[in-house]
Symmetry: C2
Subunit: 383 residues, 2 copies
């Protein structure tokens, strides 16, 4: 059910002392091959952390032998010293594994603007290399947690091969990737081209559609490594579907564990003139603080949905908008529809459906409610 579900991978997670709490904070994922094909997708934030800059370069050749990840510090906005530290992490990992430093990706997460304690990181890499195991996936998934309350892992098996993965992310969940680190592995014998196309297709409709708090991170990274250890060359369609399934599973785990959230909200926009319109409207609804407060209070306040739709440039007629909350069409033709009391929002999951009545395209965006716990979690200490 994690990065070691696929054959050919080792993983580990250790406490390197980067976090003051002493919790696990350093993970390794190693691809033993025979293939080293890999693909990645990174944050679209223009302020990018040093490990993101490094990993982009490492991936240019379409091959990765390992990924080293740390929590407890983002190594973002750390200047040239940050770049040197990311490179040093790749180098130390390569040395411990006998690999090429240019084939080691680096992922970091934690507070922005603070240099990593490199002596601890270096010792942690050595300890993690010693702890590598074909059963180490759970430890790795634990070590990349920051404010996550649980570890996030997933896997599916298809025609003789497996796709597995792990994720971390609980705040700064927003577009152009939710804020997170994700490592996916497969023992399918897929080349870098297929990995890249399958990963981009999956991310576009899963992680890119999670918009928990509208904040985009400097460190988002999703990597997909293939060992080829199953000896099976996958059907491209089946492989793409499997990667999508694992990404969707992990994305929904991120939404379920978002900081301070008490509701998981699925926004479906139908009847759009284009998928772009559907996503634009979905994101606008997902980011509306007043609606998120109302749903927290279990109030099916559809007027706030219409206010959010109205701020977009999507094709629609304000007098032909329909909105359902938990399946009750509380708004018809841009005005009150079924009685709002019929929409009972006491459960953890809430669906909001918007019919723009302007075409055939649709999209789903996931978000959370806005709660006092979110405010507390993000104001009580630096993160």
């Amino acid at each position: 059910m994690t990065v070691t579900a696929a054959q050919g991978f080792l993983a580990s997670g250790v406490a390197a002392g980067i976090k003051e709490s002493g919790d696990p904070d350093l993970a390794l994922v190693v691809n033993r091959g025979p293939s080293r094909a890999a693909a990645g997708v990174f944050t679209s934030n223009r302020v990018q952390a040093a490990p993101v800059r490094w990993s982009r370069r490492a991936l240019a050749g379409g091959r990765l032998a390992a990924v080293v990840l740390n929590s407890g510090g983002a190594n973002a906005c750390t200047g040239r010293a940050g770049d040197r530290d990311a490179l040093a992490m790749a180098g130390r990992t390569a040395a411990a594994l006998g690999a090429d430093p240019g084939e080691v990706a680096v992922c970091s997460t934690g507070l922005i603007g603070v240099p990593l304690p490199m002596d601890r990181v270096t010792a942690g890499i050595d300890a993690a290399a010693d702890a590598l195991s074909p059963a180490g996936g759970a430890d790795a998934a634990t070590a990349i947690r920051t404010t996550d309350s649980v570890r996030k892992t997933a896997a599916v098996s298809r025609s003789g091969w497996t796709v597995g993965g792990m994720a971390k992310g609980a705040g700064m969940l927003a577009p152009g990737l939710a804020t997170m680190l994700v490592v996916l592995t497969t023992d399918a014998d897929a080349d870098a081209g297929l990995l890249d196309s399958a990963l981009r297709a999956a991310v576009r409709t899963t992680f890119d559609r999670v918009d928990s708090d509208g904040c985009m991170s400097t460190n988002d990274t999703v990597l997909l490594l293939a060992s080829g250890a199953s000896g099976r060359v996958p059907d491209a369609g089946e492989f793409t579907d499997a990667v999508h399934t694992v990404c969707r599973d992990l994305a929904l785990q991120l939404v379920a564990d978002a900081e301070g959230a008490s509701k998981e909200i699925e926004i479906t926009v139908t009847g759009a003139a284009s998928e772009r319109d559907a996503v634009t409207v979905g994101r606008s609804v997902a980011r509306n603080s007043l609606l998120k407060c109302a749903l927290h209070g279990e109030d099916p306040n559809w007027g706030r949905v219409l206010s959010a739709i109205g701020t977009t440039d999507a094709v629609f007629d304000p007098d032909r908008l329909d909105v359902a909350i938990n399946g009750v069409w509380v708004c018809r033709d841009g005005a009150a529809g079924e009685p709002r009391e019929k929409a009972v929002l006491s459960g953890r999951r809430i669906t909001v459906t918007v019919d723009l009545r302007a075409g055939d395209a649709s999209a789903v965006v996931w978000t959370n409610d806005l709660t006092a716990a979110y405010v507390h979690e993000n104001s009580a200490y630096s993160s």
Copy 2:
């Protein structure tokens, strides 16, 4: 200090019973002339309330004899019946005053999607007409309050003429006008063309730069009425400056009274390649929930400022960004600068200064912190 500060205006505010609380909820502002010149700016939300649709038409001729305003119901997303109700409010007001219905603007604020209780509104208009007084400005400002904790009024006098105004707005404060109703009056003898240009110039850098919670209303309206009762034709530059001064005063009162806020945050972006870039960056910083939580917690978390800047398409080099919080340059060249402990955020007012080092343009955007009280106020009941 309000809409009756300028000569030639009467105003009143009464409790019409639209609000269940019994608080004042209906206001009139009447221009006795000799001039009736007027201008207005409305929400850019594409979902527009019936009173906004009506008032746009009423203003087409550049003249207004009166404005009728109610709190307790937005008359938004109310279908054709809502349009009829807005027209009926103008008609009843015109009848009570002996005016042309086509010269009566209508403003409503409150819950979206619920029809107004027109019998109470009609009786309230009659009562408000009876109560009109040259000293009624404060009552009018009180009657348009929704979640506002105080009434908002302002006035300045220049070369023999005065500009006064009132505003309401505490939530849904966002771009393309903060969510609010504003009526400005002047006894200067200004024609509709000068009123329009002065109002647009003032709104662009005041109400349009308030971005408290990123939510845009369906009802935003700013009206400027001139009576000409001073007999003075104003200098265009001096008049524009006076309107700007009153708008800025009212805009800062909105920020000071925003729902649940404990901090007033002024974001100044300098060194931008264009004013548009400066505003884009300012808005992105103002809307970053994680930064707003951090400032609520009095944590000068400049990393969240950089994350927000990075999501924009403004011209900048990530390694040449400078950020000051309360005057302390905690970020230099995109990395840690002065110790963050030097930035003491215990006061109510916080300044964030971003130097993009990419040009000479600048802009100021105002926002608030994100607090548990905001969540409570917007989740505990429909609004």
